[in-house]
Symmetry: C2
Subunit: 334 residues, 2 copies
């Protein structure tokens, strides 16, 4: 492994000059630059990242903090972050927080201590404390999928409220007369927005009643239980908008087990657009978030911040898309 000193010697210049051509800062004579470049090539020199980190306090590493990579929502997002990171010469450390404040806290400390350049937060429990600490240490970060406009930082999310309206409208359009909602944990902002979107869209219908809203936990089991509870309470139900795809798949299962035909008797629409939704039978209609794009955008914003391009903190709200599939496909002619 050649060092900068080897290059300097071979090129007949000082290490400072080599450093200059490496980092393209400061003036270097074209001729000497050429010599240095040649030396770099013949030695196959690569500047050592750790030494750079120590000297410059920048390591070319970003961290991705998410609740749990095993949750099918996150792999695609993680992939996106890694892709744009790699393209820009960054490396990514990934951290599962399980949404435990303590783990997150300790991770932040570890990351600071490693001179990480920035953090993408895709976790739901980012507390004001954490934000404060990161601000103190002046480490760039962007937050994925959490609304909280109050914490002043860049946020990437999608249109949850609007998406919920789209879902309800779609269910009505395919002929549903009474649409229920299974919602996620209300400390998770997107879950709340979707619930609000549902409420807003249905509150003026004569059939609407609050017991049409049933809590779930964003997981398969919760979706199953919620669907069962709903069908028991409202046997005349003919449409369910479910707060995320995982619960929707659970709901699908529960309905099938109850002998209820989907979509003929009850139509089901999910939210997220994870690839799982295509694997069920019937395939799940869903409001797709641009998951990959969200991750990619977050990473891009972060890198821009790191490299000092822009620092504006704004909320980037991406569009969602209705993906109609079998689970809401009714023969409307009749």
């Amino acid at each position: 492994m050649a060092t900068i000193r080897d290059v300097a010697k071979l090129a007949g210049v000082s290490v400072a000059t080599v450093s200059r051509v490496l980092n393209r800062n400061g003036y270097v004579n074209d001729e000497t630059k050429r010599k240095v470049t040649r030396a770099i090539e013949t030695l196959q020199y690569e500047p050592n990242a750790v030494a750079r980190g120590l000297a410059g306090k920048r390591t070319g590493t970003i961290a991705l903090i998410l609740p749990d990579i095993s949750n099918p929502f996150f792999p695609e997002m993680a992939r996106a972050v890694e892709d744009v990171a790699r393209t820009n010469g960054y490396t990514v450390i990934f951290c599962n927080s399980d949404c435990e404040g303590e783990k997150e806290q300790s991770y932040i400390d570890i990351l600071l201590n490693r001179y990480i350049d920035g953090i993408v937060f895709a976790s739901h429990t980012l507390r004001p404390d954490d934000v404060k600490r990161m601000k103190q240490h002046n480490i760039p970060f962007v937050v994925l999928d959490r609304a909280r406009a109050d914490l002043e930082c860049s946020v990437v999310r999608s249109k949850n409220f609007e998406g919920a309206s789209m879902a309800v409208r779609h269910l009505l359009e395919v002929g549903c007369q009474k649409v229920a909602h299974i919602y996620g944990p209300q400390d998770v902002i997107p879950a709340r927005d979707r619930l609000l979107g549902y409420e807003q869209s249905v509150k003026d219908f004569h059939w609407y009643t609050p017991t049409l809203m049933e809590p779930g936990d964003f997981r398969l089991d919760g979706g199953m239980r919620a669907a069962e509870a709903l069908m028991e309470r409202h046997p005349d139900l003919d449409g369910i908008f479910v707060g995320n795809d995982l619960m929707a798949i659970g709901a699908l299962k529960a309905l099938l087990r109850l002998g209820i035909q989907v979509p003929e008797q009850v139509a089901v629409c999910g939210f997220d657009g994870i690839s799982l939704a295509e694997m069920t039978e019937p395939e799940l209609t869903t409001i797709a978030q641009p998951i990959y794009e969200m991750g990619a955008l977050a990473a891009e914003l972060l890198i821009k911040k790191i490299e000092g391009a822009v620092a504006e903190n704004r909320i980037h709200e991406l569009d969602v898309t209705l993906i109609p599939r079998k689970s809401t496909q009714r023969e409307t002619r009749s």
Copy 2:
């Protein structure tokens, strides 16, 4: 951020002494040790990881190279690696290789350049070249789920051949009379072993014929296509052992679309035990690999190697388990 110098000053000793108590090497008088410890605590000192890395060429970071985190097989494994890494004070960098030799190569270079302590390879395309380079640079690594006994390194995998036999036996036990196999890419060792296991188990039956083996690509679509092809060729088929769960889910879909009852007409058994397999309807019987354990074991072995505990290169072969579910559940009484 306190530095080692601050601690030394406060404790009235030299930095060398502080370093000694930090790394518990070399002799330190109990009394001075106490002073140092106290100083460390009052200053809330944490040794800087980057500086340590530069000085000691060990960074407390391992890398996980896998084909694609979006593939549902990997998140759980990644989670396992991260869990044991964190427990041991390591941080993990994750790299999607897409099984492209070039990406892998460049990643290895990047990682070496960052003084990564070790690598977990969960990729299928590790070439002898790569192995050689890593050996040269003397960087510990362990390989996940690849057989190739020839490349001398630690390997963690599961019993693919035996698992295939278990699958076939199970299908026969539930009453299947003619069992086909959809196999994965043959450059992927586990896929090959499963195919061999199938062949071995069925070759002596009178109904056996090579056209019962149909290639797939380890993905959903491939499974669908393969199932269709098989049913066309062998309409009397009543059992399929599919080389992985993703393809099995595809096969399930294809069969449902063809109007074929699962498990009544055709029973289906997958391989892997990803959580997806519980989400289908009917739920998928599968040969479960201990995915989490495999990841965890790989990480543990790697860390042991890094820390010089053991260096023996052996193959750790974990047991697989049959998880009987709906897709093979037949009323055998009759």
